[in-house]
Symmetry: C3
Subunit: 475 residues, 3 copies
């Protein structure tokens, strides 16, 4: 086989090879490829867009240093994060020369063969930055030059790319204590891009989070309610939700190791909260309090209409060394087994039959798709299933999701796509992948006579655009 | 794509698109498409067939009201079961106009896109009732008219359809306390259709079943043995099994949340049973008693030759509101994680090596297929694997089953197909789907050179007909 | 379909049927089909090769009696192991006429339809022994004659086949107490075949292994260190590892029901060890001691450089009757659920970030592939994933492995193939299957535009040869 130095981005990439299916997939994809992007759950920093003249920095600042998908793979092969320019908590030395960081990345680009990160990077480099050559150790510096030059041009500023990416709306993820300064700046700026905040209270809910008491102080401060009791804690949260809602929030988001839910008596909730305030809450307290708060948040969602997202099953900061040295979100979060049927029963019996609630469930444990989540979504009026999350936001992850979820849940009990990314330039590549894989899946149903072409054309619109808008109540 | 108002039921539906595989699949399917149906495990009400002039009622009576696969999907999208004419336990008002019920169903028929229910309904409406148009909100009433007219004709009475469906034998599922009145009527009527009962004692075995003590009274009455002790309980069960066997039963069936098995000392079994009789059995009592009874039933199966079926892992009536208002079997049973390797070890060590026992295992937890069930079936002489159950009785469910079970268990340690349905008119569609998917799976082995055509032609006969007959010892 | 009496071993077997993918797969496969075999983890008895004139015995000695994959399938269908000539522990009667054993096997050869064992046997009989006819009950004795005649010829002696199979290196699996007599004979013999031992200390580590105290006595004897304390136990193990290393060992191997790891205080380890020496260790002692020893072995691997393999999740000797009558490795080992994320956390936090450690993980619980193992391998520098193990070393098992592991772990965090077999003549068939399935998987990536042909040609070399050599540090 001859040496190929171009990116391999064929028009019909990611489709199954059988020609009839591929032809149908291509047609379906073409019908939605240019629709606006709905991004109801992302981790893009609103500061990027708040400044009209914001910049992404260097190619390494853009593509490597903030993206734990990229650097965790290099780390897994023995490359210290220091060498990749990842900032240390203690401010100790790390690589400052971004050309060196880029060279390491290029030298090891073969590590991404067959991975979704590899696919996204090829798409970004080619379609966003016009790089035609495949990245190698040899051409690393010349490609760095090209990207660097582009990044200095106004059409590669964040707001310009936001428009070019055709993003109709993007929802960020923001701490309950966040003052939403950048969202306020965005709204005052008169820029037409729609950026909405999402209420994410984990840091004040998980009693054993490092710095929890500081977080509670911040909550008191930001809400103006002295959080000296469980009762006030609830009031402060309700207050913050109202503020978020006034700032355009449509949803809340909750991350939890386990889907365990259980309602505490008020006195018990109060007692645990007091122990926590005195630094005396133990793991079991934290577990029970979290189980209770998930139910409380369902109640609040019914009251204020914010869509409730529940992300279950990530063991955060599994590697203590990396956490101690570099902090959270360093590619060291590892999934674990998750149970939904028994754990969510208290919540679902109390709130799951209420059509005012929208509860979107996300899992990292794919064995729950067909076994628990699809049956739950296919029964309870409140429950919808989120798209394949994190590690599963991949070609095979999507295929497995379609395969295991759709027959039992039905497409209408799902919510389209979330990109869930902090890697801004990867957003079009991720949505494009979803649209291609959706088209391919539907085409597979068509060639097998499971749905007809009329249904297929509705389904692809749902998956690419309409379901996300409907589920997140986007105006 | 142009509007398509016909059902899309191509001759080669459900086969993989690659032409060589599809051609082989078609040939294999053709070789078994017209074989009689063996239905060794169904939930059809024998009353339907006991009356020579029985009727299915209205189209809604036939296709919606008794079929929780259908109405749970509508409920999941916020449609109250009352609006669908589902009878309430308290006799309160529900929709009586079946044309309105049908209209709701037709308006929401898009919910079934890509679902097995959608596929079965298309097949039933087209092949059983001759409806050529695809069901929509617009043509709902006209299609209702057509089905209603058909249902009034003698050739659409249950017995006529039973013959038309070419059902060689159908085994119903009947409570241990059932007097089998309708089976007796059937046998006395001289009708040639073969309907056999199956012994299902769950309601007297699960100590915490609502109404357990009433069930025990019924057991006393029907067996003529006063069930005042564990010892008499066992005698009464043995008596009922003998009666069922005399009525043609070939099998017993047991549903259990967990596969946990453990043998109690007789004194302990007696003590728990007495606590239960006095309304004092707790959850742990019930769990241990069930674990013990599963072993007892294996012993009885060895004694009387009834095939033992074990259905593991459904959490029944997960939604208390729906259970309270409408009762059981309302689409609110949700699967949960199941463990077999450790749980079944006591039973298998005592009885699994006995070639007189046939123990057929069913799971809702597909992760157990390749990990636990296929290795167990591929080792223990007594163990066979039942077909994909419930939610997994679908195109992808069957594919996953073939993929994960067959290599390790071997086809001969499986039992062909069960339709497991209370939806009588869906029986041919379900068996047809199994036969098509089986043919497609085997064709996939042929095109990959894994089996030759000689083996393939034997395998499809096994899957479509012979394995079910052999496993259930059908004469 | 006409009767086909030839083996069906097409050149392009096991490839997906779509012609473009098949063509690419064929090319990729051709590029590695004739590379030497790297067998870094096998269970071949070194005695076979130690004797220059060794023999495999009869066809039943070669293909049935030592291969639990074969006889467990026959047993599952009710054939007693006695009838298959499997030796009893008590020396009681079993079938001595190997022609009768062979006849039973041939009569039941249909049980292996669609199984990996069936595929391997076809390959062995055809490609190793030149048998052209498909095995049936009719031709059983004539095929027996042909194989028997071949086995008497020098070119079918073990060493000759080792050369013919083009095995570059084979690592056996040997008890910690093994004197490695046959490895010494092999080395002294001047034969050029490379056979290396692997250190497998399970029998002295699992405190509740039958005969544990005898194993400890053997350890004292072979190490020359009186194992009267935990401290000496560790010293003796280190001594044995040094000896194994001097004999060419590159790796250690550890089998454990659970991946649970935890470090004991030295005094606690000492206390448990003393209880065990006095026959007083209970199951919890054994569990905790094992958890501790896994961590100790990681420490030793860092010290001495032996690659650490961890095989998790087999419940050995599930069937007590078979164990009592025939002993271990009788096809009665059944997998169970396995957890890695929480269980390995202590080990990984202490040693997983050390690039001197190579820890290769194996599972029988495929649900852990995408959920836990791929994320762990894709993060920790020390962790690599072993190939699909045991039941999963099959066509679908490999497909599932590629599908679920590669996107998140990346190919470079895997280790190529292990045949893991005691069935010597099946080695080429197993590696050939892996190479074909690897080629097919990569071809699937190429036709979908996920990798280009340049990458594909590197990937197939990695999978067929290079990754195994690199991971096991084979010179």
């Amino acid at each position: 086989m001859k040496r190929n130095l171009k990116w391999n981005l064929s028009e019909d990439r990611f489709f199954d090879p059988e020609p009839t299916q591929r032809r149908i997939a291509m047609k379906l994809y073409d019908s939605v490829a240019h629709l606006p992007i709905i991004s109801p759950h992302s981790h893009v920093d609103p500061r990027l867009l708040a400044d009209e003249h914001g910049s992404f920095g260097t190619p390494a600042d853009l593509l490597i240093i903030p993206d734990h998908y990229v650097f965790r793979m290099l780390y897994s092969q023995g490359i210290p994060l220091e060498n990749l320019g990842i900032p240390r908590r203690d401010g100790g030395p790390t690589e400052k020369d971004h050309r060196k960081v880029w060279q390491i990345f290029a030298d090891h680009f073969y590590l991404f063969r067959g991975t979704p990160t590899g696919v996204w990077l090829a798409d970004e480099l080619n379609n966003v930055f016009g790089i035609e050559e495949k990245l190698t150790g040899q051409n690393a510096q010349s490609i760095y030059d090209q990207i660097e030059a582009k990044l200095k041009r106004p059409e590669f500023q964040p707001r310009a790319l936001f428009k070019r990416f055709n993003i109709e709306v993007m929802c960020t993820t923001d701490a309950a204590t966040d003052s939403l300064t950048y969202h306020q700046m965005l709204q005052r700026s008169g820029w037409s891009g729609k950026i909405r905040p999402t209420f994410r209270p984990d840091a004040v809910v998980h009693l054993q989070t490092p710095g929890w008491r500081d977080n509670i102080k911040a909550l008191s401060k930001t809400s103006g309610i002295a959080v000296t009791s469980y009762k006030n804690f609830i009031r402060a949260l309700e207050d913050r939700r109202a503020f978020f809602k006034s700032m355009g929030a449509l949803a809340a988001d909750h991350a939890t190791e386990s889907a365990y839910t259980a309602e505490l008596r008020p006195s018990e909730a109060e007692a645990i909260f007091h122990r926590a305030l005195h630094g005396k809450a133990n793991a079991e307290d934290a577990r029970r309090f979290n189980a209770h708060m998930i139910m409380e948040f369902a109640r609040m969602s019914i009251d204020d209409g914010l869509v409730m997202q529940l992300h279950v099953g990530s063991i955060r900061d599994h590697n203590h060394y990396i956490y101690g040295r570099f902090g959270p979100n360093m590619g060291a979060d590892i999934p674990s087994q998750s149970e939904f049927t028994k754990n969510l029963r208290p919540l679902l019996n109390k709130y799951g039959i209420d059509t005012r609630l929208t509860l979107i469930l996300f899992t990292l444990d794919e064995s729950a798709y067909a076994r628990e989540l699809a049956p739950l979504a296919g029964h309870y009026p409140a429950v919808l299933l989120g798209p394949p999350w994190w590690f599963h936001d991949s070609l095979n992850g999507m295929r497995r999701y379609f395969d295991r979820v759709m027959e039992t849940a039905g497409l209408q009990n799902t919510v389209g796509f979330n990109d869930d990314t902090r890697a801004f330039p990867s957003i079009p590549a991720r949505h494009d992948l979803w649209r291609r894989l959706s088209a391919n899946w539907i085409a597979g149903l068509v060639v097998r006579g499971i749905v007809d072409k009329e249904d297929a054309s509705e389904m692809i619109l749902d998956m690419a655009y309409r379901l996300a808008k409907k589920a997140y109540k986007i105006p």
